[in-house]
Symmetry: C2
Subunit: 354 residues, 2 copies
Amino acid sequence: MSTSLPFGTCPVAMLGDGERITLAHGEGARMTRRLIERTILPRLGSAVGQYELNDAALLSMPSDRLAFTTDSFVVSPLFFPGGDIGRLAVFGTANDLAVSGAQPMWLSLSLIIEEGLPLGILEQVLESIKRAAQEACVQITTGDTKVVPHGAADGLFINTSGIGPALEPPVLGPASIQAGDELLVSGPIGCHGLAILAAREELDLRPPPESDCASLWPLVSALHAADLLQHVRAMRDATRGGLTAVLHEWANACDLTLRIEESRIPITPNVRGASELLGLDPLYIANEGTMLLAVEPRHTAPIMAALRAQSPGDQACVIGAAQQRASVPVIVSRVTGTPRPLDEASGVLLPRIC
Amino acid sequence: MSTSLPFGTCPVAMLGDGERITLAHGEGARMTRRLIERTILPRLGSAVGQYELNDAALLSMPSDRLAFTTDSFVVSPLFFPGGDIGRLAVFGTANDLAVSGAQPMWLSLSLIIEEGLPLGILEQVLESIKRAAQEACVQITTGDTKVVPHGAADGLFINTSGIGPALEPPVLGPASIQAGDELLVSGPIGCHGLAILAAREELDLRPPPESDCASLWPLVSALHAADLLQHVRAMRDATRGGLTAVLHEWANACDLTLRIEESRIPITPNVRGASELLGLDPLYIANEGTMLLAVEPRHTAPIMAALRAQSPGDQACVIGAAQQRASVPVIVSRVTGTPRPLDEASGVLLPRIC
């Protein structure tokens, strides 16, 4: 087995001399159908709803307002502590629907597979997709499989697109944030990016950092059930670019300054230690199951209670507030001193973290 | 400029020493936003509807029944006579909706870009996507951009997913095909696969074969407007695996034998000549704007008239019929002799044709 294929923490048995994906698996005829019917659909099991082998799935929508989103996943390595590309692909897209104020319902699943990928790797990713789809309460309803020659892709890329009915009342989004609104984070930050970095670079961190990769639907659903979603101005999962990227985008959208206090942001000792060791700032590190919320301040307490009653929201914290626009869009009060501008990242952070 | 990047017939000016995609363009922060705001959205222009920079687009659906489909495009080269990866990505997904009996309405657009791709190439593909979206009457409503290091992908991969309202009455699909139903093809076959092969292998065919890459919505829409869709049992664009793959799938779905006559299948002299030269059978070659239809025989004449009144249906032909199940699922009466089984392809046809 070549070590150049970045499979990460996939069990060694999967990397043996078993069957591998060939170009014929992507030809659209008998071999492709066999791959779908014998490998893909059985492994997805009950996660598959009304799946159409070709063309489109026909679905009945419970609402005339729907949300639609897409994400391609190119993470390297494919397996890492706390997750794998399959879990990321399900939760990433389902979370984009949830934080938009929609119920994740249906996903598409499109695979771009590099010739030579061990079939065992694909099977493990598919089983992971199945479990994640069950956790996120979504069904895979349509798909596509392409195979490219060895060297034309890096193991496996996955695109998932998702649709679901918009919740009522709608979440208005970051342009609706007002001065005085409070900023909440749903859990500890920095876990996912550090887990990927440590797995890719084979850093011997003990314990190894684990991705926070998780479905955010339980949190959004709890807020909706408690009639609290109407008091949430904006929600966003803080993926690429971390908390900082979301803060900047929101500050630009609402033309306010967002101010956060470093001491109030939940960061695990593990992530704090590893970040200091590596000279990284957790505020820029990607998350995959942690979201930022901007909420009306008089409803902060019940919203916090609803978040904290659910996993993965049990460590939710208020970390700051929106205020009238100052000279900079985002300000952080560091633990060590006076408030400072929190600049947007402009260069390469860490490629292929999702 | 390295010649190893398979750009095909892209104008040479695009391959100059201009700006290139870097890993920073995919980081999810400022550089990604700039790429989207300054390159992607302006180039897509009016093809963009209610586009959400992040997360999900919120859409109002005119029907509670919708179709959902996905397709990833990995074609090599990126540009070829008659089309490019952008046109393929729009028409491929829009056609999957149309042949499922749905109106193509909204597409997502997810780009996986290899570091080092000249920005001019990306811009040209985006402009092509814009034109194709206008031709197919669809809007791009949500998207995603990933950049992978040089060598981890091959230039550019595109995923499009699509949704649209299901037409009434619904098209029942291949399981509803009955003995006596007639088989129609909407245009000449074999053009797309040969165009790709000739461009990739730099075959000096004169004139160079051109892809049939086109929107099939005008044909489906015309059938719907004339109240003829209810007499169509099944439609399918004959992409990977060509006409043969669709015939086999349908024969299995309806448990009948499908019989076609080679002499009735439209094939351009150009495709016929090139196929003979290369030892290929057009029945196995991919198409990107040609569909097979199974129709109730007493409605064949008006359906043929409706197809022939529209581009790309002006060369539509009746090519065969369904009959009681014989010993083989698909039979072809060759020009040269007695009827013979048309076997399904089982090996590698031509990789990366879409």
